[in-house]
């Protein structure tokens, strides 16, 4: 495990570089194939509306996968993530156009947990179309 961020160099409040991730219908089809989650609410507009959704929505697990990239890009080694959890609060609605939707992720170090294990808690915020799409989104990360 070789994180490129040193535990000594971060303090509570340290902000990680924020990122914006695009998501289109094509992204969702590709993710469905890679993850094996073929629920039609993620690619079939007619089906999504029939079950009461405004439109096709992204897989919650897709949003969860994008959000943690802010952490794994920061640490360099994805193995630095020792715990990661989210609550799926609002769906990411993905319109059938070229633009699709975007997921904006910001994160900051909330607390230093253990000086010996060099672990910190990172709190993540994921927004789409002005709404918070993940709640209680937190990772425990082991730094160098």
């Amino acid at each position: 495990m070789t994180a490129k961020i040193a535990y000594a160099d971060v303090e509570p409040g340290t902000e990680l570089p924020a990122q914006t991730f695009p998501v289109t219908r094509a992204t969702l089809v590709q993710y469905a194939g890679a993850s094996g989650d073929f629920n039609p609410i993620h690619w079939n507009e007619k089906f999504a509306r029939e079950v009461g959704l405004p439109d096709v929505i992204a897989h919650g697990m897709f949003t969860m996968a994008e959000a943690i990239r802010v952490v794994t890009d920061w640490t360099g080694d994805p193995a630095a993530v020792v715990e990661y959890g989210v609550r799926f609060t609002k769906p990411v609605v993905v319109p059938n156009d070229d633009a699709g939707a975007t997921i904006e992720v910001s994160a900051k170090v909330a607390a230093k947990l253990d000086d010996e294990a060099r672990t910190v808690r990172v709190d993540l915020t994921a927004m789409s179309a002005g709404q918070k799409v993940l709640g209680m989104s937190r990772a425990v990360v082991r730094l160098a």
């Binding site: 070789t2 897709f62 994805p78 990661y84 609550r87």
Partner: protein
């Protein structure tokens, strides 16, 4: 109808091993648009101290969710799967999943609750490799929304 509380603590037999392949990890990394070389380049992964390419943190869900299916679809439990939504997801990692792993999942029902007509099911999936080493635990909260009044 509220789910049977006696299911709390019930464990299901371990799944047949899932063999993690480099190309499957690459496919997943491409699907999430993540170019981290640790996912596709064995040398880059080795430079970080891993024996082979590793998988993105959420990759393992495909395996644990399939395993949770044996709980969700247990006819004795009687969950209305058509009304199930994913509420929360959490992972606790001992190490990253990597190419060449043969992973089995043991699912346990952690809790069963009924809240405002919704059935809430917490499932813990313990993932081990073929040597018995713990890799990751997946905590999955599923919510079966209350049926609408007809």
């Amino acid at each position: 109808m509220a789910l049977d509380q006696s299911f709390v603590g019930r464990s299901y037999p371990p799944t047949a091993p899932y063999e993690v392949g480099r190309e499957k990890i690459r496919e997943f990394a491409e699907a999430i648009g993540d170019a981290n070389p640790a996912y596709t380049d064995p040398d880059a992964a080795k430079a970080l101290g891993h024996p082979d390419v590793i998988a993105p943190p959420t990759f393992v869900f495909a395996i644990t969710f399939k395993a949770a299916g044996q709980v969700v679809r247990d006819p004795q439990l009687g969950l209305d799967y058509s009304r199930v939504v994913h509420g929360d997801q959490k992972f606790g990692y001992s190490r990253p999943v990597r190419a060449g792993d043969r992973l089995t999942v043991t699912s346990t029902i952690e809790s069963v609750k009924s809240l405002a007509g919704n059935d809430i099911l917490d499932i813990r999936g313990e993932v081990h490799d073929e040597t018995g080493e713990h890799v990751v635990t997946a905590y999955t909260k599923l919510v079966a929304r209350a049926a609408e009044e007809s």
